[in-house]
Symmetry: C2
Subunit: 159 residues, 2 copies
Amino acid sequence: MHGRFILHTVIKLWGTRGMNIGKLAKNSGVSAKTIRYYESIGLLPPASRSANGYRVFEDSDLQTLRFIQRARGLGFSVKDVLHLLSLWRDPGRSSSEVKALARRHMEHIDTRIDDLQTMRRVLDDLAHRCHGDSHPECPILDTLAGANANVDTGSEEKS
Amino acid sequence: MHGRFILHTVIKLWGTRGMNIGKLAKNSGVSAKTIRYYESIGLLPPASRSANGYRVFEDSDLQTLRFIQRARGLGFSVKDVLHLLSLWRDPGRSSSEVKALARRHMEHIDTRIDDLQTMRRVLDDLAHRCHGDSHPECPILDTLAGANANVDTGSEEKS
DNA sequence: CCTTGACCTTCCTGTGCATGGAAGGTTTAT
DNA sequence: ATAAACCTTCCATGCACAGGAAGGTCAAGG
């Protein structure tokens, strides 16, 4: 009696749970194309297939996909996401490892912000010095041409 | 005798003005590989060739390369640099066009800075809340997994 | 004269992160 | 029967180069 109920429930849940790639795409907000891509690079495990060859996904795939989405949204590379996923699935992980990964990523972000801000400052200065009228004279072009002032573009030569 | 000497000298001088790709690379700090690439996509005009098929560059190419370098250093895309180069070479340009291009680029940079700063703030917050010890508990992973905060409770399922 | 090594050439592949499309099979609805 | 809405694989594209293979060229030295 009891066993039969459980079996029934299991079968029912089992039958209800699988979804095709389109549904997973809708549920996750990640395109079917990208889901296949994630599978191909190992971010998602290879989905099982139904008789017609269609991929069948489970709820766990949806969870994984959402995890990936959030991590990518924070700028983590696919490689980092792979690492984060493995840490997530590892009950024996230490949070220090996760934190270290996050910090390395933050440093990377900081570098990029600094680079962009340097560019922004230079551009802002140049734009302010450019009249922006119908005449051809333009300090922006002059500077790019290396006319007079030495502009530090942030990327120094290495020779 | 004399004529031959002069001819020799002329040829030698002529030969001195042009440079091979290696020298241009050294003088500009741009790799030979990249110089060829720039030529292939039209950033640099097709270089003339000497009898052996080697590219021969002039000082004008060096100037152009430096222009490209500075523009790239300011984050302009290759496409934008193409535009900037054409404006640079156009005596009938109006500085307003240059300025507009620069401003569009600045807006783009601002957007990227904002995005990165948002990521940075979130990461910083998560990192602060993570103990970073030998235990597995980690708010970073919890957040990526969608543990607590604003996770839709999934009451709008539709199959 | 021949070799060595530093040049140079073209062509193909790989990077990161997908996106777009072609060509075709399957399922469902009308 | 046919359309539409799915699904499949494989190939191409974009950015801005870098790496390397396979081979031609040139100057110096034994």
